[in-house]
Symmetry: C2
Subunit: 276 residues, 2 copies
């Protein structure tokens, strides 16, 4: 399908390129930052924390911070949210050199997401390096988020566009994905990458493929979520792999984080190796 | 298209049925409640408030409460959110007999929306009669929301499924809408209705068509939102019409609310009239 404006896209295949090389290909400051963090720390692991307790989140983040490039959270489930919590979280991100992804899945019209991004109790745009966005409302959702940043003079912010979901019976059709990728390409100054399961959806080496639904072994939960192995997702184009309960529910958290880090990084090195 | 399980659907055309008759057709307690409120108060007007200030919201809600059936808010944009605010809002809803719709547009997998619905600072399920849901993640999103309610033993709760959006360039394709309506029909104990622009998407008289993007005159804003007149949307199947800035930015708020109430209700009465 002819959804990619080819003149803007490097002819090199991102799957065989190093993260450091790809840092040169993006128009986004925060995407370049994430690429460099991955290369420096030798980790393409994103930890997803679905905890409702701020202390638990901070404790785990400080425990595993050295092994991840990205921490994905849901700020709206934290029961004891406070400004101090944000101060501490941002300090940890700085200390351990990871970025923060608020997995908000914005999905409203521009006028509303502008307010949801910058206002309210959580003031997401003031601390989240990255957020997730559903493309369903059309281009206005990107304009709305950008409008919020313009008022704040924030530049080192970006979003991932959710193009595929890993839940059973999701409604992301082929046409939906095509339109979503087009939206991402058109706004690649603000869109740092794409949330998806398959490499063909991320044609631009400057865009980052973020892939959730990763566990050490395949499986599914009772509410429709499906899982794949680290090697499987990296081979299918994952640049950053999102692991949640596979780590947070493990007996040996540090050991498990290290196993994910090693297996994901080795799969990435194998992927970019010229001998493969 | 054969997406409707016909044996469950009344053969009567909802467009010619009164709200009181339709209250008999729903499996949802809260949908029946909303139908009765509309019939008793003679209003099918939903006010949408996008304010970031809790006092402003409460003041306007008490001013217009007598003229609306539903108040649609975005709790996550309120800067000075507090439990007292919720107590006051719920008291106003009781005093003026309207329901509260938190327009959250849930759009994540079941495990996550379960937490987003019941946990966090906002504890939405404890006070919002209704919420909005994007069907994109598949059936798991409904199971997740229901699972949160089961733990709370809440019964008088429900959701609207967002099947169409009124923003320019939205990605809601025909197939997407078909799958979304199917999801709504399958879960009509919890799904009270459908957010859409066209009557053909709401086949069941027990489901409520909620239509946003309504102003006294046609037009659009600078972030891609498009508007239609009260008569146009009711003729196109709107049971409840959502009006936002058309009221909140009016010079004469009470006068404008009354004009919307009258025009929307007269359009509804005309629609169900046997002479039409």
């Amino acid at each position: 399908k002819d959804y990619v404006p080819l003149k803007e896209v490097s002819k090199r295949n991102r799957l065989s390129m190093s993260f450091m090389d790809r840092a040169q290909e993006t128009k986004s400051l925060v995407a370049a930052k994430l690429f460099r963090i991955m290369a420096e720390k030798r980790t393409n692991l994103c930890l997803s924390m679905d905890t409702t307790n701020s202390m638990e989140l901070l404790e785990l983040a400080s425990k595993v911070g050295a092994h991840i490039c990205l921490l994905k959270i849901h700020i709206d489930i934290i029961k004891d949210f406070s400004k101090d919590f944000i101060t501490n979280l941002v300090a940890l991100a700085k200390e351990y050199n990871f970025l923060i992804l608020e997995d908000r899945k914005f999905a409203d019209i521009g006028h509303v997401v502008k307010l949801q991004y910058s206002q309210g109790v959580h003031e997401i745009s003031s601390w989240a390096d990255l957020v997730t966005v559903h493309p369903i409302p059309g281009p206005g959702i990107i304009s709305g988020l950008k409008a919020a940043l313009e008022e704040l003079s924030q530049q080192d912010r970006g979003c991932f566009i959710v193009v595929e979901m890993s839940s059973q019976g999701n409604l992301n059709s082929a046409d939906y994905k095509t339109a979503a990728v087009k939206l991402a390409m058109t706004h690649s100054d603000f869109v740092v990458g794409i949330v998806c399961q398959s490499s063909s959806l991320v044609p631009d080496p400057g865009l980052i493929q973020l892939t959730p639904g990763v566990k050490l072994d395949k499986g599914s939960d009772t509410l429709g979520q499906q899982y794949n192995s680290p090697e499987h997702v990296v081979l299918n184009g994952a640049d950053v792999a999102v692991v949640g309960r596979g780590i947070t529910e493990a007996q040996d958290i540090i050991g498990t984080v290290k196993e994910f880090q090693t297996r994901l990084w080795e799969a990435y090195e194998k992927r970019i190796s010229p001998n493969e």
